[in-house]
Homo-oligomer: 393 residues x 2
C-alpha cells in the first residue's frame, strides 16, 4: 500500500465502471445530460460487445416464459434507431443498422418441429413470424442449402455492426467530454450509507475516483467489484461465446441479405451479414468461467452448421475466431437500477441482448441518476429481485 | 529507372535467391565451406517452410511410381540427424527432432482398403510398415477414436519442429558470416554465357548483387525469376496448403506421441505432435495460384478429419490457421542442379518434402558449387529433365 499522502484521486459527478457498450452508452447520455463523467475500463479488449454479432433480435431471441424480457427487448428495439441516428450524427460515423429481418430456417424434421413450436408461441404473443416453405425461403436467400425445407421470416429483427457501433459510442462519449481511465475498478466506496466513488486496481496511477454516483456496468466482471450487495455477486456469471468472422473474397456479391438463423440437428447457429462483406457466424454458449480460449471443437461446429445451411460459406475466408463472455444472470434478464446504497447504480447482466438493450439501458440509467423512474418495462429487471430472494431466506 | 551512376551493387562469391529452409541451408553450408555468401529474400514470412508440418516421412509419403523420389528421400532422412545435430551444436538451439514414427490409420472400409494397398507397395520396396489391428493402434495412441479399425506403423518416419529448424538455420547462417538482404531477386544476370549475379526489385536500396555463382532457391516464386531457362518457369507452380496449429491447455499431458496420419472418407489428414504442446493439423493441397487465403471450408475439413480420428483435438485451442505455397513440379520431384548457364544453380520444386530434403539439398548444392557431382540419388532430379523435354519437341 502506498502511504496515505501518495494517493492520487480524481473527481467527477458520475463514475462508470466498465467501457463496453453499456458503460459507454450510459456515459455518453449522462454527459449529454450535463453530468461530468469518468469511465474506468482496463481496456484489454475483452468487452463482450466487441465480439457480439450485433443482432437486434427481440423476435428470434424470444423464448417460452420470458415475456417480461420480450417486452423490454421490444422497447429497446423501438428506441434503437433514434439513438443510432443521433450517434451517427454526432460522430459522423456509420454504425451499419440493417432492417432486413431474420430468416430462421430448420435443417432436419426435429429442427423443423422445434421451430414450428417457437413460431406458434411467437405469434401467440403478437410477434410477426411468417412461415415460409423451402421455395419462399430460397426466393429470399438463394444461397440456402437445397435441403432447407422451410423457415420463418421475423421481419421485426434488425442488426447493427457491433464493432462500428461500439467505436461510435466511444467517440461520442469522448466528444461529450467524458474522461476515460484505463484501469480496473476493484471496489465501490461508501460513506454514510451512500456510494461516494470507486477504488482502482492502480494500473493507471490513479487510486480512487470520487463521485456522487457510481454505475457498475462491468459485464461479467461486475460480480468482482467489492461493495456491491452480496446477492449481486452471485447473480452474474460469464457465459462463454465463440464466434467467427468470415470475409467474402473481393468482388463476390453479398451471399445473404437477412440474418440467417438455423437449428442444425438441435444446435443453433446464426449468420449475420455486414455491409462491408463480413459475415458473423455464432455462437457457442458455454459455462467455462472466464476462459477465453478459442477451441477447435467450437470452430468446427460453427463452420459445420453454417455450411449446412449456407454451403457457400465454405468459400469465404476465415478472418477471425474470437471469444466473448456474456454477462448471464439467474433469470436471463438484465440487472438495471439502484442497488443497496444511495448513489449506486447497477447496469449489467445483459446476457445475449447487450447491443439491443444498450440504448434503452442508457435512458434508464440517466433517469435513475436524475432521480426519475425508468420506463415501466424495466420494473422486473431491478437489482432488488435478487436481493429480495436473499432476504426472504 | 535510376541513373546509371546511382546503381548500388554488392559482391559475393555466391548469391542465393530465397531464404526459406532450402536457401538458408545452402547458404550455411556454402559459408561453412569457405565461400562468401549473400542471401536475398523479401522476408515477408511467406516461405512454405514456415508453415510446414515438419514431417520427415519418406515412408508414409511414398507413392506408387515415385521410386526415384523415395530413394532420394531415404538419402535425405539418413543425412538429416547429423545435419540437425551440427545445427544444434553451432546455434545452441533445439530443432525438435522426433523419431517416434508415423502411425497411419484408416477410418472407413474404403480408407482401410486404400491403406492396405499402399502398405503392400511400401513393403514391396523394402520399407518398414507394420500392420496393426485396432487394439494395437490404441496401445500406441490411446486417444484414437474407438472406430479406428486398424493402421500401419511406419517406424522410419520422423519429424522436426519446422519453425525452430528454420530459425536455427537462419542463426547458423548468420553465425557463419552470410549476409542477408531483404529484397526480391527479379532476374539472374549473365555475361559471356555465365551467371554473374542478380538484379533486385530494389526495396533494400541495393540494385544488384554480383557473384560468380547464383543459386535460385525461391520455392514457388522461382519461376518468376527472369533469366532462368524457359522450361523451368513452367516446371514450378504453387500448391496451396492450409494448416492449423492447435495448442494443448496448460497442464494437459501430450495426447499423441507419434505423427498420426489418417484417411477419412478418402481425404488425407495428419496430426504432428511438438514437444511444446503444439499439434499441427494439415494439410490441404489446392491449385489456387498464389492465393494465401485461409478458407472456412478448409479449416472445417481439417478439424473434422482430425476430430474423426482423435476426438480429443476438439478440446484443444485453435492457435493459428495458416497457408503455405509448396513449390510443386510436373513430376512431384525437386529440381536441383546446374541449369543452362555456367554458375547458375537451381534448388527448388521440393513440393511436400522441403524440410526433409533441405540437408541433402545443401550437400548437393555445395558439391555443384565446388564442381563436384552430387550423390547419385540426385541424378533423376536435375533441371535438365525438363529442358530436354522442351528441346525434343
Amino acid at each position: 500500500m502506498p502511504a496515505k499522502g501518495a494517493q492520487v484521486a480524481m473527481t467527477a459527478d458520475v463514475v462508470v465502471a466498465g467501457g463496453g457498450v453499456i458503460g459507454t452508452a450510459i456515459a455518453w447520455r449522462a454527459a449529454a445530460a450535463g453530468l461530468d463523467v469518468v469511465v474506468v475500463d482496463p481496456g484489454c479488449g475483452e468487452a463482450a460487445s466487441l465480439v457480439a454479432a450485433g443482432m437486434l433480435a427481440p423476435v428470434s431471441e424470444s423464448l417460452f416464459g420470458e415475456d417480461a424480457l420480450l417486452r423490454l427487448n421490444l422497447l429497446a428495439l423501438r428506441r434503437f434507431p433514434g439513438f443510432a441516428a443521433e450517434l451517427e450524427e454526432v460522430t459522423g460515423q456509420r454504425v451499419g443498422l440493417r432492417r432486413e429481418g431474420t430468416l430462421a430456417v430448420a435443417y432436419d424434421p426435429g429442427d423443423h418441429a422445434a421451430l414450428a413450436r417457437l413460431t406458434a408461441f411467437r405469434r401467440s404473443v403478437g410477434l410477426d413470424a411468417d412461415e415460409l416453405d423451402g421455395r419462399a425461403c430460397r426466393t429470399l436467400e438463394p444461397f440456402l442449402a437445397p435441403g432447407v425445407r422451410g423457415g420463418v421470416l421475423c421481419a421485426g429483427d434488425w442488426s447493427v455492426d457491433s464493432r462500428r457501433y461500439a467505436a461510435a459510442l466511444r467517440e461520442a462519449m469522448r466528444a461529450a467530454g467524458v474522461r476515460a481511465v484505463r484501469d480496473r475498478v476493484v471496489a465501490v466506496r461508501a460513506r454514510d450509507g451512500r456510494a461516494c466513488g470507486v477504488r482502482l486496481a492502480g494500473g493507471s496511477g490513479i487510486d480512487t475516483v470520487d463521485g456522487a454516483a457510481v454505475v457498475v456496468a462491468a459485464g461479467c466482471w461486475s460480480g468482482g467489484v467489492a461493495g456491491l450487495p452480496d446477492a449481486l455477486h452471485a447473480a452474474v456469471r460469464p457465459v462463454k461465446g465463440q464466434l467467427l468472422r468470415l470475409r467474402m473474397p473481393a468482388g463476390m456479391p453479398p451471399v445473404i441479405s437477412h440474418t440467417v438463423r438455423a437449428t442444425v440437428c438441435g444446435r443453433d447457429v446464426y449468420v449475420v451479414p455486414r455491409a462491408d462483406g463480413e459475415m458473423i457466424v455464432g455462437a457457442t454458449s458455454e459455462e467455462r468461467g472466464h476462459d477465453l480460449t478459442v477451441t477447435a471443437g467450437a470452430v468446427h461446429d460453427l463452420l459445420h452448421d453454417a455450411m449446412s445451411v449456407l454451403p457457400v460459406t465454405s468459400e469465404l475466408s476465415l478472418a477471425e475466431a474470437c471469444v466473448g463472455l456474456r454477462p448471464g444472470t439467474l433469470d436471463n434478464g438484465p440487472i438495471v437500477g439502484t442497488a443497496g446504497l444511495g448513489g449506486l447504480l447497477v447496469a449489467t447482466g445483459h446476457y445475449r441482448n447487450g447491443i439491443l438493450l444498450s440504448a434503452a439501458t442508457a435512458d434508464a440509467a440517466v433517469a435513475c441518476l436524475a432521480g426519475r423512474r425508468p420506463a415501466e418495462e424495466w420494473e422486473p429487471f431491478s437489482p432488488q429481485r435478487f436481493m429480495a430472494v436473499v432476504r426472504s431466506r
